[in-house]
Symmetry: C2
Subunit: 186 residues, 2 copies
């Protein structure tokens, strides 16, 4: 199936294509500028986006992806607004907010929304527990990857090869749900 | 005129009523839960909200208010997402991000959106330059008021009597534009 990933972030297209193209699904980048609503959960943002896309682009197979880093000691900040925090205060801001605090646990979450031409909507979830470093490390990935170490590892997401990152990451896990769905739905 | 202020924030109703009621406009709080879109500017958020309200509540005179604190040294953070930052890291988080930095200039911005039963949309703007304190001070106002000192004063917004705050604040200035409009439009 040809899936249009609605995003302005080429890094996301790269991560999804690495998983979906070997399974025969072509992933293309679509910049459709759908509205992202301010909402307390990623699910609500993705649902709102799917409804808009279903109205404006009813005949395409489209995928949207929303993700965020939820830091426990910061009340879930930057969470749903991770992109805006990245654009303004950056990963350095998240490190400044934690200071020398010992409590550094965090969770990356991803919600994928699939819209099929027959109007079917489906959400897929993935999360990854881990902790925030004291300094950024690594050149891979994007966003907050250099300051996040997944549980059970000592490397940051930005230090993991993409295939390894996809094996444990929030996006990789949401993708695994999507792959299973596409497999069973033919 | 009876104006419904669409907000869950009673503090905003109080501030607007203090100005509008002496002029003969009754302000009531309406909790209509309109969607706030993620957008780079307050104007875009308010425009999107007005379009939604025009579709769903076409026969009412409604007012929406969006405001934010834009800190220069933080790339405009928390900006459009000031509410979310307040709910998570709070004013203490903004102070932590600035640390002992000397550059503490900031701007409060407010955009009011008016929707009249004849479908007229109108935006009103106000801003207030100032600086961020090193510790919170005062019990008045709401949100980031205890850490913001308007230019030309030494007191924080939270230390100013409401009438004085309305005289210089971002919301007060947007309100003055609105009052002028309501006066001239009968």
């Amino acid at each position: 199936m040809e899936l249009g990933l609605v995003t302005s972030n080429a890094g996301k297209v790269h991560e999804l294509a690495a998983v979906l193209e070997p399974l025969g699904h072509e992933v293309t980048q679509r910049e459709l500028g759908y509205p992202e609503v301010q909402a307390p959960t990623l699910e609500a943002v993705v649902e709102f986006g799917l409804e808009w896309l279903a109205q404006h682009h009813p005949d395409e197979a489209l995928l949207i992806d929303d993700a965020g880093l939820f830091v426990d000691a910061l009340g879930g900040f930057p969470g749903v607004y991770s992109r805006h925090a990245w654009d303004t205060i950056g990963p350095a801001g998240v490190l400044a907010l934690l200071g020398n605090g010992e409590e550094r646990s965090a969770e990356f979450r991803c919600v994928l929304g699939l819209l099929l031409p027959d109007g079917v909507h489906q959400l897929f979830h993935g999360s990854c527990r881990g902790s925030i470093t004291r300094v950024p490390r690594g050149d891979g990935g994007f966003g907050y990857d250099p300051i996040f170490i997944p549980k059970g590892d000592e490397r940051t997401f930005a230090e993991l090869p993409l295939a390894e990152k996809n094996g444990v990451s929030h996006r990789g896990r949401a993708l695994a749900e999507l792959v299973e769905y596409l497999g069973t739905s033919g």
